[in-house]
């Protein structure tokens, strides 16, 4: 039994299951299946065809690829925006003919001819664009028409000029370089493709026009509704497509220097196959340069390979057709099931064995013994605030709390019956602290760290930190900044509870109980933010110790409180202050007598403790049953404890019925009262404390008060 549990422990330590869900949530995972197909195709034809990997064959193939992939990209650009361009083949043939005609017959230079051809082909694209984009004709029919018309024009021109063209011959070094040479042994056309691909990728993924293209393809109506110029963008996509076809035609002309009636015949089918095989969705909105390239390579290798294998004439298109139907099938299945799969595998619990909790029964005699000291909590702002995770008071006794509507609400002393919205930040304001200049620094779930100055101006302090090298999810953004405190030197230490879940899903992190959280430090002097500690289990409740040399923080799901030294001789070390807690600790704040208050936001249930040792059980549970039915930590009742620097718990305050003030995530001592906040509550609580320092307030304790009393 023990060895089995050790095995489980090791298995969960070294096999990172959570990575599967994170990879699946990445956009580039769409390329996985096309890429696998590509590898298979290369492997199959590589073994079937002799000399497949020889330098000369690779050179020839990549030169062809240069042209074909450009046409593939042309097709992709149109597909992404939700259309289709059947005229790419004819346009390509037109480009080829015009290049040869301008060079051989008109005697233009390459520098003049190439841009002219690109413009001519672009104008064919523009025609498509105007018809489809502005006049709202059907893309399929329109481009079918241009396919036929342009093909007819090319045929008529060929009839007239073919003989004259074949008599003359254009000669220039640049032209030879384009057709036969290259750079560093890489064919010219391939270099062009690389440049176009890189520029295109950056444009499509990292620029406004690219995003608009994707948005329109994804949902035309929504794009229109948010004010994008749908018509213009669609028109532009067709124009770009035409220009890319022209460029491909130029390269083809440079390679073969010949124009025939079969030039570019059936190219639209190959390009369409390439685009779809690569994983570009025919419905639009989902596509990339990489997908187009993968598709182009697959199609080119297959058509060339079938040719070289010497199969009879029908087999080439047959292979292509079969792969196309396979690709469409996989594409549809993938699109339909990817999110389902992601939903099922994202929650990935790990092994955690919690130590036996301290007894809480009233007769146990421990500091945790149940009592009803919180039963008669005074209620402030009932139904006026929702989700006050943290509360804080200023020197003038005003009471502040965050709400789930993104407001900071302020209650006026002495009776706290009137309230106003002090500032609106957005997100879910959580932990709060005063800095030396009486600015309110707030952790905002979903946004980051914000500051409200005394004139109520809201400014962002930071919303990112350094990205860790091996993390798959982008952990440079702050998803769930949770609680903060400020060191005497002004550095802000704050916790991010989890990097895997958003604000409203935070209890799900308890099912995982992995070290998904971290402590982050922001230094206002340099403006830099860096991650101080990683792999913490829902870190929460940061509090600078009374001596200012360390911070205390809770690891909620591990039911313990730690100390991290930030200055002095032990700077950088981490030690355990308190563990075996019977519940999940949340915010920690200073008490007036040199000790600390900690909120216990929920209690452990033995059935969950057993499940924590069985990650497989929790994983299956997350897959099999609805989230509402999952076994959760009991967050409906909690308590407040007071402990000292040595890690001794001195007292606990309970409300066993949890009727009056249901849940506690935070508490502040202020002038003889204890103020309570709870993230699922619609109220704030306060209770009079007996025998405490009636002049003590948090701000003066941290930064020295009006009375000049500076805490030791």
């Amino acid at each position: 039994m023990a060895s089995a549990s050790n095995l489980t422990k090791l298995r969960y330590r070294f096999i990172p299951d959570h990575v599967i869900g994170e990879i699946l949530s990445k956009k580039w995972i769409d390329n996985a299946i096309p890429f696998l197909v590509l590898l298979c195709v290369i492997a199959v034809f590589g073994t079937l065809i002799p000399n497949f990997f020889s330098a000369s064959n690779l050179s020839i193939t990549s030169r062809q690829l240069g042209e074909f992939a450009l046409v593939g990209i042309a097709m992709m650009v149109v597909i992404v925006v939700g259309g289709i361009d059947l005229s790419v083949g004819s346009n390509f043939a037109l480009g080829n003919f015009m290049t040869l005609a301008l060079l051989n017959l008109a005697g233009w230079s390459v520098w003049a001819a190439v841009p002219a051809v690109i413009l001519i082909c672009g104008s064919v694209g523009l025609l498509n664009g105007v018809l489809v984009g502005y006049l709202r004709l059907r893309a399929f029919l329109t481009t079918l028409v241009t396919l036929i018309i342009v093909r007819a024009i090319v045929d008529m021109l060929l009839l007239k000029y073919a003989q004259a063209m074949s008599m003359s011959f254009y000669q220039s070094d640049l032209w030879d370089l384009m057709g036969l040479g290259g750079f560093f042994g890489i064919p010219f056309s391939f270099c062009v493709l690389v440049v176009v691909a890189i520029v295109g990728h950056v444009l499509l993924t990292r620029s406004r026009p690219g995003w608009r293209l994707m948005a329109i393809g994804g949902s035309r109506r929504s794009a229109h509704n948010i004010g994008l110029s749908v018509r213009g963008t669609v028109c532009a996509a067709y124009t770009i497509s035409g220009m890319l076809c022209g460029l491909a035609g130029v390269l083809y002309a440079a390679r073969l220097s010949g124009a025939g009636t079969d030039t570019g015949m059936g190219l639209e089918i190959s390009a369409l196959t390439a685009a779809v095989l690569g994983g570009n969705s025919l419905g639009g909105g989902r596509g990339s340069i990489v997908k187009a390239l993968i598709g182009a390579v697959i199609v080119l290798i297959m058509t060339n390979g079938v040719l070289r294998l010497g199969l009879n004439s029908g087999s080439g298109p047959m292979v292509l057709g079969l792969t196309l139907i396979f690709a469409v099938f996989v594409d549809v299945r993938w699109l339909k099931n990817r999110d389902k799969l992601l939903n099922k595998v994202y929650v990935s619990p790990t092994y955690i064995e919690l130590p036996e909790p301290v007894a809480t029964s009233a007769s146990s005699g421990t500091a945790f013994a149940l009592n009803d000291r919180l039963k008669h909590v005074e209620i402030i702002g009932l139904a006026a605030v929702e989700s006050p995770e943290d509360v804080i008071l200023d020197e003038d006794d005003y009471l502040y709390c965050g709400t789930r509507h993104g407001d900071i609400v302020r209650f006026a002393p002495p009776d706290y019956t009137s309230h106003e919205v002090y500032a609106h930040i957005g997100g879910s304001p959580l932990g709060m602290s005063w800095d030396r200049d009486k600015n309110l620094v707030v952790c905002v779930g979903g946004m980051g760290l914000y500051k409200i100055d005394r004139n109520r101006n809201v400014t962002k302090v930071t919303d990112e930190t350094n990205r860790s090298k091996l993390s798959i999810v982008d952990d440079s953004r702050l998803r769930l900044a949770d609680d903060l405190d400020i060191a005497p030197d002004g550095r802000i230490f704050f916790s991010e509870a989890t990097i895997r879940y958003e604000m409203h899903d935070w209890p799900v992190d308890a099912l995982e109980s992995r070290g998904n959280g971290r402590i982050i430090c922001h230094d206002p002097k340099t403006g830099k933010t860096h991650t101080a500690l990683r792999n913490l289990i829902f870190p929460n409740g940061v509090c600078t110790a009374h001596d200012g040399q360390s911070i205390l923080f809770a690891e909620s799901w591990a039911c313990r409180i730690n100390r991290y030294y930030i200055s002095g001789p032990k700077a950088g070390t981490l030690e355990r202050v308190l563990d075996r807690l019977p519940g999940y600790p949340d915010n920690i704040n200073r008490a007036s007598d040199g000790t600390y208050w900690a909120a216990i936001m929920g209690m452990r249930s033995p059935a969950l403790d057993v499940a924590l040792r069985m990650p497989g059980f929790r994983k299956r549970m997350a897959r099999r049953i609805a989230p509402d039915q999952w076994l959760y930590p009991n967050l409906n009742i909690g308590c407040v404890i007071r402990f000292n620097d040595k890690g001794e718990v001195l007292e606990s305050l309970w409300d066993q019925g949890a009727e009056n003030h249901p849940m506690i995530t935070s508490m502040r001592e202020h002038k003889g009262y204890l103020y309570l906040g709870g993230i699922t509550n619609n109220r704030i609580g306060r209770i009079r404390l007996e025998g405490r320092n009636e002049a003590w307030s948090g701000y003066s304790n941290y930064w020295g008060g009006r009375d000049g009393e500076r805490a030791a």
Binding site: E386, R604, S605, F617, P627, D628, W630, N634, T680, N682
Partner: protein, 364 residues
């Protein structure tokens, strides 16, 4: 082979037998709070097993027998037996049978021991329900031969199928086994045609036994909770008490042997992931995601381990209407229900209450 493969695939994908599905409370079972809001509630610790006698309703509370006039008004304890009473039955001749500990005690309706009646030498432990047949024999349901009555949750988690039905002739003391290998028989009633209706709790169904003890078929299956006792309604149908709700989590735990074993070994039984007669009394009970209070309110549709539900069935076992006490309510763990004096009486064993709901006159 094909079967084993299919089972494996089912387990992997969560289909077929491995699917965790619970029937919704819908149609006649649509939730309401009629039981929770009923005006009459009498505080009775561990109220259980109502029967109707000529002199009023009789029910048990621990080892005591209480009498309650059906018109309302105060009730009283009239007999104390040595051990907690687990089941009651009354014959048409006015003989009251009470299962206590290892024996069955026969009294008249005033509580005086009935002479000449005997329970034989049989070891009567674990009786969950009893009923007199028309000929005066007593049908006795034993929930489990493996687990004691207060270990019923263990019996469920172990997949108990060791329940049995016995026939006792009190006049002679002769005992014979009528049916066996039942999954916790928890209620007995007689159909007008002489068939015996038995609620099989862990199978979530009612079965019909022929007078020879053969299972003739299930008359209602896939109930949304675990059925308890059955009584006849004034309209020729039945009242079925459902003492605990099914939930996806419990169904899931039933399919997880390793976790179940560890939980039963290490955790006190009131904190198991198992149906319960009452819940919400300790923070160490397991909590499910939907039961997280928001703004201080527990949603009534939250997942819960205990529930209060009485269903009226037609003579053909079609649910007609139901009375609920939902998540967060007090009147949970209904073990028996009875129609008398125009009211529906129910014992909430989990909520320690005897509840009476006024029934609307004919129809609804």
């Amino acid at each position: 082979m094909a079967n084993a493969l299919r089972n494996f695939v089912d387990r992997f994908l969560g289909r077929g037998e491995a699917a965790v599905t619970v029937p919704p409370l819908d149609g006649a079972l649509k939730p309401n709070s009629l039981l929770e809001d009923a005006a009459f509630g009498l505080r009775v610790p561990a109220a259980d097993n109502l029967v109707a006698t000529g002199e009023g309703l009789v029910y048990s509370s621990g080892a005591d027998l209480h009498r309650q006039p059906p018109c309302g008004g105060p009730g009283m304890a009239f007999r104390t037996l040595g051990a907690p009473v687990s089941a009651l039955a009354v014959s048409s001749a006015g003989i009251l049978a009470a299962a206590t500990g290892r024996t069955i005690v026969f009294t008249d309706t005033a509580g005086r021991d009935a002479a000449g009646l005997s329970a034989g030498n049989h070891d009567w432990t674990g009786i969950t329900a009893m009923d007199f047949a028309h000929d005066g024999t007593l049908f006795v349901a034993i929930g489990s031969s493996k687990n004691a009555l207060d270990e019923w949750q263990r019996d469920l988690l172990d997949g108990g199928q060791t329940g049995s039905i016995w026939r006792l002739d009190p006049a002679t003391g002769r005992v014979d086994r009528f049916a066996e290998r039942l999954a916790y028989p928890n209620g007995i009633a007689f159909a007008p045609d002489g068939n015996i209706i038995v609620s099989e709790a862990w199978q979530k169904r009612l079965v019909q036994l022929t007078p020879t003890g053969r299972i003739a078929g299930q008359v209602i299956e896939d109930l949304p909770g675990y059925p308890a006792r059955i009584s006849r309604s004034a309209r020729g149908g039945y009242w079925l008490s459902i003492f605990a709700p099914r939930s996806q989590l419990i169904e899931f735990v039933l399919r997880e042997p390793a976790y179940r074993r560890a939980m039963m070994a290490e955790v006190e039984k009131e904190f198991w992931i198992a149906p319960a007669l009452r819940s919400g009394y300790s923070f160490r009970e397991p909590m499910q995601g939907g039961a997280l209070k928001q703004m201080g309110i527990l949603k009534p549709w939250a997942p819960t381990r205990s529930y209060g539900l009485v269903v009226e069935l037609s003579a053909d076992f079609v649910p007609l209407r139901s009375f609920h006490s939902r998540a967060g309510g007090r009147r949970h763990g209904i073990t028996s229900a009875l129609e008398a004096g125009g009211k529906l009486w129910a014992t909430a064993k989990g909520g320690d209450e005897l509840v009476a709901v006024a029934l609307p006159a004919e129809g609804k």
